[in-house]
């Protein structure tokens, strides 16, 4: 049923649970697992600061990916990690389209209240616009 599973991962507790669910599904269906994290530049992107945020974001996620790799080492699942830049919902939908993912797995709530207010509910947007099934993990 699911040949390609994409997990949206922002290092929050909910994202950790979504990752676990993604690994579980990947094991059950012998599916490919893609883990996507998104770095959002500030508005408007500032000179030099943007490059710094992108570099820091890349290093931040790489450190978390190392832990995730360790976590799934014995499961037989080999996740592929991707870091993209932009609005989280847009990038999740965009990569899911590009990769022709069968399902997107994501947490219900990620960032803090102000960021949710500014960015809107990412899970709601993904649910509305994704071409494939979406699994929201609570």
């Amino acid at each position: 049923m699911f040949s390609k599973i994409m997990v949206a991962y922002d290092t929050s507790e909910q994202a950790e649970r979504a990752f676990d669910a993604g690994v579980d599904l990947a094991q059950k269906y012998s599916a490919e697992l893609i883990v996507l994290s998104v770095i959002s530049p500030p508005e408007p992107p500032g000179m030099v600061e943007t490059e710094a945020i992108l570099e820091n974001g890349q290093m931040f996620f790489e450190a978390h990916y190392a832990k995730l790799r360790e976590k799934v080492a014995s499961s037989g699942v080999k996740p592929r990690f991707e870091v993209r830049v932009g609005h989280p919902a847009e990038q999740i939908i965009h990569l899911a389209n590009q990769e022709d993912a069968s399902v997107i797995v994501m947490g219900h709530r990620g960032k803090n209240i102000i960021q949710r207010w500014l960015l809107g509910s990412i899970s709601k947007r993904v649910l509305s616009y994704a071409h494939c099934s979406v699994l929201i993990v609570r």
Binding site: P41, P44, G46, M47, V48, E49, E55
Partner: protein, 397 residues
């Protein structure tokens, strides 16, 4: 010293507040620092008098000026020399057009429409001619266009536009004397010497806790800054050019760049941007807001006049369909209409050198901030060249 430490505490407190706001509202730190500076001056000025922030204290001016110099250097060092060499023809045509026509057009609007004097009009032209490399870069990354030849050309063109801005700022207001010749000669000589000397020097003595690299770079920047001011020019001109010529060496040393950023964002640029914001007069801005709108509209209009025909020419020559070429050209032009840091640097230069007054400075800074936000929003909403998104799958040239 008590007064100095107390003032430093106040400024760092404002910087911390600005950083928290930028994190909560996901806005650029530069923008939040300008806004915090403006609001702080308004509130503190009303409660305790305008001088309490001490914006004219020499040590605040020094930290602020150093912030502009190091930030400009780091911006220049972000240039990708390989891409620039590959795309320099298209990039130079687009970049120079994107600088020259808005510069002349906005200066004309300031002079004939707003009746500013000649010097103030040239300054307005410079402040409005900028393009924000960071805005263009972020949008390119977001759309995956940074790997396409289109994206690379556009990014290289932004560096050419900003180079036009800093060269104009550095030379237009300086009296042309033998000092100018000395300054230009030393700058050109350094352009050849630094890329050769720097990597060798760093290899031999660098990588130690004594931070020799930072001292060497600050020595070059301060030395050339002093020479620029002696010649009646502006210190950000050599800083940007030194950054560009060292982009292939210092720019690639990520650890060094990170350490310089810590110094810059942690201490220097808050003083620069908060000071820039504190000098904005909100009452003047509110009294005649149409002036800032006039600058914003003029900037976008003249960027269209300059960039649109050139990009359409290149797009058609590269075999794009008429409709695609049009969308792509509109998109490019709107992105090239953005600007933030160099616009504020040019405006502050004008104010501190007595070229413009506080009200004129306020209009220019407001227009610069708006130009960083409005064109990008329009570009992404209406003119996104979606066919280019497909290109990155096949072409990573």
């Amino acid at each position: 010293m008590t007064e100095t430490w107390a003032l430093a505490t106040l400024w760092l407190g404002l910087a911390l507040a600005a950083t928290l706001l930028s994190i909560w509202f996901r806005i650029a730190t530069a923008l939040s620092e300008i806004v915090v500076g403006t609001v702080a001056q308004l509130i503190i000025g009303a409660l305790m008098g305008g001088a309490i922030l001490g914006t004219d204290q020499s040590w605040i001016k020094f930290l602020s000026g150093t912030g502009a110099i190091v930030l400009t250097f780091l911006a220049g060092a972000e240039l990708d020399p390989v891409v620039f060499k590959m795309k320099w023809k298209e990039a130079s045509v687009v970049g120079l057009a994107s600088f020259a026509i808005p510069f002349l057009g906005c200066a004309a609007v300031a002079y004939w429409l707003l009746h500013w004097n000649g010097q103030a009009s040239w300054l307005a032209g410079i402040a409005m001619s900028t393009t924000s490399v960071a805005v263009v870069y972020a949008v390119m990354l977001e759309l995956g266009l940074n790997k396409t030849s289109y994206g690379k050309t556009l990014l290289a063109a932004c560096f050419v536009t900003d180079m036009g801005t800093v060269v104009a700022l550095g030379l237009i207001f300086s009296p042309f004397t033998y000092k100018t010749l000395v300054f230009v000669f030393v700058l050109v000589a350094l352009g050849f010497v630094l890329p050769w000397l720097t990597p060798r020097f760093f290899k031999r003595y660098g990588g130690r806790p004594s931070e020799l690299e930072a001292k060497y770079l600050l020595l070059s920047l301060f030395g050339m800054g002093a020479l620029a001011l002696w010649a009646g020019s502006e210190a950000v001109l050599p800083a940007y050019l030194i950054g560009m010529v060292l982009a292939g060496t210092v720019g690639k040393d990520h650890a060094l760049v990170r350490r310089l950023r810590t110094l810059t964002f942690g201490l220097l640029t808050p003083f620069y941007f908060i000071r820039a914001g504190s000098l904005v007069s909100v009452p003047a801005l509110l009294a005649t807001p149409l002036v800032f709108v006039a600058f914003l509209v003029s900037k976008v209009f003249f960027k269209f006049v300059a960039v649109l025909p050139v990009t359409q020419f290149f797009n058609r020559r590269n075999g794009a369909e008429a409709k695609e070429a049009k969308t792509e050209s509109f998109y490019t032009t709107l992105l090239m209409s953005t600007g933030l840091t160099f616009g504020s640097i040019a405006s502050l230069f004008g104010l501190t050198h007595g070229i413009i007054d506080t009200a004129q400075y306020s209009y220019l800074v407001a227009a610069v901030i708006a130009s960083a936000v409005v064109p990008t929003m329009i570009a992404n909403a209406f003119y996104l060249p979606r066919h280019l998104l497909q290109e990155k799958k096949t072409s990573t040239e």
